[in-house]
């Protein structure tokens, strides 16, 4: 029993040193000067524009990745392929964003859409502008919804869908009435992960944003910007807001996980 206690102390000690104490300290440092100054520094015009920009990007990326993620999952699990090559290839591509450094994601977009890039001649600006940030965010948060929905789809099987089809339901009806309700918690979990990643993405966005004040500075870029301009309190305040979003994410994950696995 003492051995067990020793292991517990070691595990919790590791978590304390690595996670709890640093995060606790930042929260303390943030609110040390008082809640009023925190409020002031997250309601500056720069902070407000960064906040809305981040939400806008996250909303677009989540919408795209949710629709395409569910479609990809349906295709991989329910699709009929004559041989194994297409689904294997799609699954490999789906996992690729996990293997790519965020900086490489940003670089790759610059090489395609930037000056001298393959698609540099588009009528609208991509790099150093909103479309570039959205593309970067969609890339890094791409696998989550599909990865969460695929196992759920396998688990529920297609008997109910076949029954619906037999009774004359159209594909669309079957999807809305049978498939979607069956996978909804998996989708919700994937959406939470996608949202968290989209809001928190830094590396890829930092390469393509160009950091145009009031236009392409997201929340995470604002944290870096303030830190480098020696506005430590401001950086902490913006971080606190992001940490709050992270906590909400954790809470949702904890609430959704048992439902998704049920």
């Amino acid at each position: 029993m003492t051995a067990r206690r020793g292991l517990r102390v070691a595990a919790l000690g590791y978590l304390a040193v690595l996670l709890v104490v640093p995060v606790g300290l930042v929260v303390y440092r943030t609110f040390e000067p008082g809640i009023g100054s925190v409020w002031d520094s997250i309601t500056t015009p720069a902070a407000i524009s960064a906040f809305w920009l981040t939400l806008e990007i996250a909303a677009i990326a989540v919408a795209i990745n949710t629709v395409m993620g569910v479609l990809t999952a349906l295709l991989l699990v329910r699709g009929r392929f004559r041989n194994r090559i297409p689904p294997t290839l799609i699954e490999a591509l789906l996992d690729l964003p996990f293997a790519v450094s965020p900086v490489v994601v940003g670089l790759s977009l610059v090489l395609v859409y930037g000056r001298g890039g393959w698609l540099a001649g588009l009528p609208f600006q991509v790099i150093f502008s909103l479309p570039g940030i959205v593309l970067a965010t969609v890339f890094v948060s791409l696998p989550f919804v599909a990865r969460e929905v695929i196992p759920v789809l396998r688990e529920v099987g297609d008997e109910q869908e076949q029954a619906a089809a037999t009774l004359g339901a159209s594909r669309w009806q079957t999807f809305w009435r049978i498939t979607l309700p069956a996978i909804r918690w998996g989708v919700a979990y994937g959406v939470v992960l996608t949202t968290a990643r989209a809001i928190g993405e830094f590396g890829a966005v930092s390469v393509v944003s160009g950091k145009v004040a009031g236009e392409t500075v997201t929340m995470t870029l604002l944290v870096e910007n303030r830190f480098q301009n020696f506005d430590l309190a401001g950086a902490y305040a913006a971080s606190a807001l992001l940490a709050l979003i992270a906590l909400a994410t954790l809470l949702l994950m904890t609430l959704l996980r048992p439902r998704k696995d049920a």
């Binding site: 690595l18 295709l75 789906l94 690729l96 969609v138 940490a243 994410t249």
Partner: protein, 279 residues
């Protein structure tokens, strides 16, 4: 009754036919989506890396600074992965087999590094382990700081991959071993650990792939000192900033290879295992 069966079959067949049409549409949409978002940009990196021919590619990746950054990235990622194999298994074991107040909260906390933006993670670690540390520990801009940041962001991988396996594990064998006089250490080493190894390996592979490419949490804490704390991802960023996209692309290709080899190896391993299980 037979007429009912016939109509049912006809209905099912027509559903299949229409599914084939929408299936092709879905395949097309997914292919276009993955191509535009993932394949096209990564292809651009690979193509641009050899813009000046293979010689230029080789010159870029074998420059002293690039080699040093890549070597450090590899070494620190391996070290972090090894620590994760150990600490992650320990934490998973404590979360599954131990009971203590606040366990649910600790369990939820494990995902914090996934939820917290990486730049905030870096800032957070800098607050406690940087120049203004209240504990008097200042390791900012050292290789240890890079390792620490990577440990932070990779924490969940091994824990979350080992935990479910440990939960499913049948306790009977362990009880039998204990009743036959095996010590807890023997039981763990001979019975529990062998069952966990596949999960530990897959968690480690994910942690390694993540560590190799990590950027956000290192920007503030690594100090980006060439030949010392500069990792490959930051090196790539600097190359791009100093208008050398070809050099940046070349090192990116090497970095991609690191994590791809590991992840493809993992997939192959899982594939082989699932085939064995099925047989």
């Amino acid at each position: 009754m037979s007429t009912a069966a016939v109509t049912t079959r006809a209905g099912a067949r027509s559903a299949h036919l229409s599914s084939r049409g929408s299936g092709a549409l879905a395949l097309g949409a997914v292919t276009v989506w993955l191509s535009v978002i993932v394949v096209l940009p990564l292809a651009a990196v690979v193509v641009r890396s050899t813009d000046g021919g293979l010689d230029a590619f080789w010159t870029s990746v074998s420059s002293r600074q690039a080699v040093s950054a890549l070597r450090f990235t590899l070494a620190v990622s391996l070290a972090v992965t090894a620590i994760n194999a150990f600490a992650g298994t320990l934490i998973a074991w404590v979360l599954v087999r131990d009971e203590f107040p606040g366990k649910r909260a600790v369990n939820a906390l494990i995902d914090l590094p996934f939820a917290l933006p990486t730049i905030v993670a870096g800032l957070t670690l800098l607050a406690l382990y940087g120049p203004t540390s209240p504990a008097g520990i200042d390791i900012a801009y050292t290789q240890a700081a890079v390792g620490l940041a990577l440990l932070f962001v990779t924490l969940p991988f091994v824990v979350r991959s080992v935990q479910p396996v440990l939960m499913e594990l049948d306790r009977e064998m362990e009880e039998a071993a204990t009743s036959l006089g095996a010590s807890p250490a023997t039981v763990f080493g001979r019975i529990v650990l062998p069952n966990l190894v596949p999960a530990i390996v897959s968690g480690c592979a994910l942690a390694f792939a993540r560590a190799v490419g990590e950027f956000g949490s290192l920007v503030l804490i690594s100090g980006n000192i060439p030949f010392h704390t500069q990792v490959a991802s930051v090196y790539i960023f600097k190359q791009l900033e100093s208008d050398n996209p070809t050099g940046a692309a070349a090192v990116s290709v090497v970095l991609l290879l690191f994590s791809l080899v590991v992840l493809i190896g993992l997939r192959a391993l899982e594939h082989r295992r699932s085939r064995h299980d099925g047989a």
